[in-house]
Point group: C2
Chain length 465, copies 2
């Protein structure tokens, strides 16, 4: 979230580049790469580097190159990061996963410096040290953090202005689930969208992180009708969450479904899909309607960059002439929190409103599942394959030894998906007990997820070092 453009991180110029990477720490150990000779060469290139405190080590996830889920590796780093004025050191408890992280892994997100780099735009934790000139944070403060990247690790150094105090009663998981999704939904609905009573809103991927946040925020305004797309198995959950009209986009034409209920169209459309869906959204707007596009989920097809999907998205990219806007009395807006660098004042305003709503009990992040750092590949897969309802969270809690040794079963993918959906239904029923049971679930649930055996093996091998 710093205003500077952090350049690609290079192994052999760690010292020089450190200043431009607020959430990065000195690399005292080269990351494990697939080719050991290269790693050795890099290590040799930084012989003069001496860590601040030899004994200080912490684990960090590192994107080692663009590609599949296995490109994010768990590494151990040495040396306590130094604090500059205005910064705080946070002992990270939980991290949020976002679509931008998935795009970044494929090399489709230009706000992340080139690999190797630690991803992660949001986390929660405890302030462990404060730099000079920091007056509003102290050691022991529970905070949530928003940053451009670098938060998927046990220890993160960030500007104090990028931290927000966690309110009473909010868990670390919730706090890690809140910043990106709720600020995004809030600014889209209440700044660009100017949402008012009696209006109608279409939320794509209504069971996703932003979708659930947007739905909850819509319900804070009187008589707002929410149309939400999601696969059928998620409809009960999103209806309970506030979606007035759930639409199964896999079996039905959502444009037709909306027109049946709201022939004149909609006041606000939150478009996370991009490509040809943006065109559909535009045509679905009422006069004075606002289309807010905030993603290109259509570009993500498969683990690795799918050139066809990317090209298709570009080909269908929505472009609008002012004459059409004038004659339609329409508004087209683009939003992405990752590009809102340096606008911490706007972000803080939104966050204050969001935290007030939380304290009033009007919004509450919904956690889909929590994963150990070692399981980041599976966590990303769950999100990318749209098997989540709510937020996918990483915890920095160490993974019990018995779980690590256990080899995941290779299961039929489709069958597993069905199981997964079923499991969600079960889970939903005892949502009330969720808070108490979280620890058990964390250890149990991820094991059921489908995995590719070879990937998992590779991951375990690397992270054990």
């Amino acid at each position: 979230m710093s205003g500077e453009d952090a350049p690609a991180q290079q192994q052999n110029d760690v010292d020089q580049k450190q200043e431009t990477k607020p959430a990065e720490e000195p690399k005292t150990e080269p990351p494990k790469t697939e080719s050991p000779p290269a790693g050795a060469a890099e290590a040799a290139a930084t012989p003069e580097k001496v860590p601040e405190e030899e004994t200080f080590t912490y684990r960090a996830l590192v994107l080692t190159g663009y590609g599949g889920y296995d490109k994010v590796k768990l590494q151990v780093k040495k040396g306590k990061p130094a604090l500059k004025a205005g910064e705080v050191l946070v002992r990270v408890k939980a991290c949020g996963l976002n679509f931008a992280d998935l795009m970044a892994r494929q090399g489709l997100y230009d706000r992340l410096p080139s690999p190797p780099v630690t991803p992660g735009m949001e986390c929660s934790g405890v302030v462990e040290a404060v730099g000079e000139e920091v007056t509003d944070r102290k050691v022991g403060d529970k905070v949530m953090v928003l940053n451009r990247f670098g938060l998927w690790q046990e220890v993160a150094v960030v500007p104090a202005s990028h931290t927000f105090l966690i309110p009473e009663g909010m868990s670390f998981e919730e706090a890690a689930a809140l910043p990106v999704n709720y600020i995004t939904a809030y600014m889209m609905l209440f700044d660009f969208g100017n949402l008012r009573p009696n209006q109608s809103v279409l939320v794509h991927a209504a069971a996703g992180g932003v979708g659930i946040a947007a739905t909850q925020l819509c319900k804070t305004v009187k008589d707002v009708t929410v149309f939400g797309t999601a696969s059928a198995s998620k409809h009960e959950t999103i209806s309970e969450g506030g979606v007035t009209h759930p639409i199964d986009y896999r079996t039905k034409d959502y444009v037709e479904e909306v027109r049946k209920i709201s022939p004149k169209g909609l006041d606000i459309i939150l478009d996370s899909l991009g490509g040809s869906d943006t065109h559909k959204a535009y045509n679905l707007l009422k006069p004075m309607g606002k289309l807010i596009t905030y993603g290109s989920a259509n570009m993500l097809a498969g683990q690795k960059k799918n050139l066809l999907a990317v090209a298709k998205n570009w080909y269908h990219q929505f472009s609008i002439h002012t004459l059409s806007l004038i004659q339609g009395n329409k508004s087209v807006c683009g939003f992405h929190l990752g590009y809102l660098d340096g606008e911490m004042e706007l972000i803080s305003q939104a966050m204050n409103s969001i935290l007030s709503l939380y304290k009033e009990g009007k919004i509450k992040p919904r956690i889909d599942s929590t994963w150990h750092l070692e399981q980041v590949g599976d966590a990303m897969r769950k999100m990318q394959e749209r098997n989540n309802i709510g937020k996918v969270i990483l915890t920095t809690e160490p993974m019990p030894e018995e779980e690590k040794k256990e080899e995941p079963k290779k299961e039929d993918k489709k069958e597993d998906k069905k199981k997964d959906d079923k499991k969600k239904d079960d889970k939903k029923k005892d949502d009330g007990k969720k808070e108490e049971k979280k620890d058990d679930k964390k250890k149990e649930e991820p094991k059921k997820e489908e995995k590719k055996e070879e990937e998992k093996k590779e991951e375990v091998k690397k992270e054990e070092k």
Copy 2:
């Protein structure tokens, strides 16, 4: 303002098409066209037409073809228009001129049916008759009217829902100046723009009707900074009206001027110019900024359609990709009240808020000048040549005989413009006495305007019939 698409008006299908032209009345007399034989043929085509009341006559301005100022002719019509359910008959007192009327005269505005047709989107007057099912208006009510066209005449029939009661203390001139400009400015600033305290707004043509309305509305919000473009001679007036930073667009680059004061750019830009200025506006937006484009004033160059200006405007027409919007966190909106057909609920909401602000003394339409129907050409010229500060109004009061006979002096155009600017300055100083002096001014002022002798002669000739 009806929801239906009124087709081009044809002389020989008046009866059939009448239903789709809410503000038009039966043509009982063919309009005076340049070619008498055609007129005779048209008259022969409607022999069965019998006026409701033979004795009822009224004057109407009629656009007889696309072109210069002389294309709008004053004609006398016979027969009292019949009222359908839900309609009222208004005895018109004053009419507002709008940019869309100027575009329409050149054939550049597709919301006006083909000539011959009576233009005019707003007027004020007194209800003289009410149709069946009208419950909220009665004979004698003073109203302002908003309609798609057809209001530049002494008598207009409109749906009651298109009328708004004139509040206590508001003159007919003010009431005719209010609807289009204030609703446009209000919806742009408070619906699309979502204007909030401490924001910055750029208003192009800040001395024009919408410009003055927008400035006044900006000042109803705490600590809003208004940048306004206008020629230097108008700066004092617009500053007094609320513009924080007046910018002379004729001698300075407004983009540079804005950047000097607000390096990060602006929150809201109201773009009435179109073409290449829309590009400039887009680049001047802050993150979360809103560009609201609502006109193509750049297209109007000269009296008649200027194909080069139109082509240039098209060539430079702004087109935006969603990726740029996303990366910039920007919003681009288009607004035109003329295309907001059938959205009377939205319009009424805006109007109610506007009238409340008027009653609180927070806004007040500024009248630039008032002209007789016979002088519509000069009134249009004044507006098109940007010599007005505030609203140009037509009055239906009969023009005194002595004024009609007086031949206007042919003066040097440039010199006259200077005089005009000077006169404005003088006028501004005794703004307080304006209300009382209006009647005098009305008869005196227009005579000073520059006129092309030949045009004037032609106009007088036609309108006397």
